[in-house]
Amino acid sequence: MASAPSKLYQDDVSLVVALLDTNPFFWAAASLPFSEFLHHVIPFINSLLLLNQLNRVVLIATGTSSCGYIFDSGDGNASGNSNAVCSGIIKKLEDFVGKDSKIGKGSNGDGTRPAISSLLSGSLSLALCYIQRIFRSGTRHPQPRILCLQGSPDGPEQYVAVMNSIFSAQRLMIPIDSCIVGAQHSAFLQQASYITGGVYLKPQQLDGLFQFLAAAFATDLHSRNFLRLPKPAGVDFRASCFCHKKTIDMGYVCSVCLSIFCKYHKKCSTCGSEFNQVAPDSTIPDQKH
């Protein structure tokens, strides 16, 4: 899928919105510590800014119950001493994780079920809104793309929201790249990268993460037409049902709004249409001729 041509800018200029997974439950048990992870990501961001003076990078943190903006290189105060910028990012991340866990405890009440998945749908929506604002800002804008650094497993309850974001990205012609730093593949991100034409990668060795990022995700969209980029072996297209959020292979589909259910329902919960089981040979009044 071709990307939207950026108006009046050289093909090289890009805007990368990076979504960092900050789920503490995942990072506590991960093989790569979070600080090491940042040691790979921050030079990668520096390299993106190095490649072209006009490149922009935005960092959004994906928490368990909320998402927030961490860094925007287009800000006036982002230039200058990079050490200050780096420590600024780390401090903002710490503040965010603290706030996020407070929100998580608050809404869960007595903290019955720890959230194992992070709020991917929220950060995708934040990224898309930011990019839409850039599109509306004028004639000259860089070519945007979204990079998801995801580690936590998919939460099936976010299926509808994530698919909606993926289709919006497809319509705006924004590729969604995914880099999985966790242990298992993510069906959502495989579908996202497949539908929007992005790159999906699960690095085999996490201590070489910077090298994987630089090799697969650093190039601008125009040059991608000429490069051999990693393709996933197969895409997991399974959906999750709308009623229980379970992942299913076979189920019932509403013929009006295409919502998926695992068990038979009398009425569709999304669009409200009633499912009358009509016998195949009953007479239906012909309205034509």
């Binding site: 108006k7 009046l8 800018y9 050289q10 093909d11 090289d12 030079p43 520096n46 390299s47 190095l50 490649l51 072209n52 003076q53 006009l54 230039s79 200058g80 001493n81 990079s82 050490n83 910028v85 780096c86 004639t139 000259r140 910077f210 090298q211 630089a214 090799a215 650093a218 190039t219 601008d220 125009h222 040059s223 037409n225 000429f226 490069l227 051999r228």
Partner: protein, 452 residues
């Protein structure tokens, strides 16, 4: 008419042409490494990133696997560029397969940049209430004024109100190739290259002038390498900040005055010392290294009835528009003209191509029409190209016609003879006639006499 293209040779070509030792010395400064990296073609940038943390060389074959088959030509261009600039060095191992390794200094500078981030070349002066610093907008107008004044002086010395402080020999060096005086007491006329120069965008023009400036630097006692590194450093300064002149070396101080005349920096007198402030032209230097598109606001609106409205007060713009259109009248803020067949034929006579005119109009399109696709109406662009093609319909070559050959063998022998010299223009085998370029006539006669 030969199509002479003025090659606004990329500044990087000049850098690449420096001898190896000087180039390696240039890479001591991390700003130059950054600037060089930014000027590379996109594929080359990716290769540099990938090789940045690798210590051992990588074979050329494995690099070719990074691209798809239809990207191979771009791959070759990228690798050639990297080798020219000595960013990649070729290493021949025992198996005689070429492999590439990154330049040590370049690699260590870039690794440092990525892990600790970039710095500015020098610290700006602290804000001082005694000296009022011009705002960014004022700086920009100053830069454009200086640049236009310089260009006007370049093409026609008599039209300028105030001249720059370049010596006449410097101006002559700049004008070389752009202007020539057909007769001694006549004013010098613009050559084809000169016309094409005027239609280029500001960044390309700037680099052309700077290239000439640096080439002539040796005669004035300045080391070109120092100048190159100073210019590249200049582009990393922050716009709108003042820097003290005392931090510059001798060579750089000499250069600052010239750069102020070109509009790259503004020279101010502070309380105790001189200050200089880089303008937008300077900070855009590293952006424009790789033929980036112009970022100026356009001012030309072209209508489908071939009328042209240019919202500009600058005399330079008026001169440029006069090159290919008929200026009808000039109002205080508007220049009204029309693109006519006569005016375009005039332009084509002077060596300007339709592509240059169309790209000039497109790049300088007024913001109101720039958002429309296309920014210049298609009937206008098509018509410009058609009028240019008109001139290519008939091409004249002096030639000779040979007929009444006694035998077919002689005819064939003559055809082959002419073809060997590349002068055969037309042959009619049935009627045994052939047309050969005029320059071969004498040799053809000798050949025929020899055959009899």
């Amino acid at each position: 008419m030969p199509q002479v293209r003025i090659v606004a040779r990329n500044f990087m070509d000049m850098v690449a042409a420096l001898p190896a030792a000087k180039l390696d010395k240039l890479y001591d400064s991390s700003f130059i490494c950054e600037a060089v990296l930014r000027s590379l073609p996109p594929l080359a940038k990716k290769y540099v990133l990938q090789m940045l943390f690798l210590d051992s060389p990588l074979t050329a074959k494995s690099m070719e696997e990074w691209v798809l088959p239809d990207g191979l030509s771009k791959h070759k261009v990228a690798i050639d560029r990297l080798l020219q600039l000595r960013v990649f060095m070729e290493v021949n191992d025992r198996k005689k397969e070429p492999s590439y390794k990154m330049n040590q200094k370049f690699q260590s500078n870039m690794q440092k940049y990525l892990t600790t981030g970039g710095t500015v070349p020098r610290e700006p002066m602290p804000l001082n209430a005694a000296v009022r610093l011009p705002s960014v907008g004022e700086l920009e107008t100053y830069a454009m004024e200086q640049w236009e004044c310089f260009l006007l002086q370049l093409i026609n010395s008599s039209q300028v109100d105030k001249s720059t402080s370049f010596s006449s020999s410097m101006m002559r060096a700049f004008q070389r190739g752009l202007l020539n005086s057909s007769r001694d007491n006549e004013a010098p006329r613009l050559t084809e290259n000169g016309f094409q120069f005027l239609l280029m965008e500001t960044n390309a023009q700037l680099w052309y002038i700077i290239r000439e400036y640096i080439s002539s630097a040796e005669e004035r006692g300045m080391d070109p390498t120092d100048l190159i590194s100073f210019l590249l450093e200049l582009s990393f300064h922050t716009l709108g900040e003042a820097y003290s002149v005392n931090t510059l070396t001798e060579v750089q101080r000499l250069a600052i005055k010239d750069l102020a005349d070109l509009g790259l920096v503004k020279y101010l007198q502070g309380r105790k010392e001189g200050l200089f402030m880089p303008t937008k032209l300077a900070t855009n230097l590293s952006v424009s290294l790789s033929d980036a598109s112009s970022r100026k606001e356009g001012f030309v609106v072209v209508e489908t009835n071939f009328r042209m409205y240019a919202y500009s007060t600058s005399r330079l713009h008026c001169e440029i528009l006069r090159l290919f259109s008929r200026i009808e009248y000039q109002l205080p803020n508007l220049i009204v003209g029309a693109i006519t067949k006569e005016s375009l034929y005039n332009a084509f006579e002077n060596g300007i191509t339709a592509e240059q005119i169309v790209s000039f109009l497109q790049q300088n399109a007024h913001p109101r029409v720039a958002e429309k696709m296309p920014s210049v109406p298609e009937n206008v662009t098509d018509q410009i190209r058609l009028w240019e093609a008109d001139r290519n319909r008939v091409e004249m070559t002096p030639s000779h016609l040979y007929e009444d050959f006694p035998s077919k063998d002689l005819f064939e022998a003559c055809c082959d003879f002419a073809r060997d010299y590349g002068c055969l223009l037309w042959q009619d085998t049935k009627k045994m006639r052939l047309i050969v370029k005029g320059e071969l006539h004498q040799q053809m006669r000798d050949f025929l006499r020899g055959q009899r």
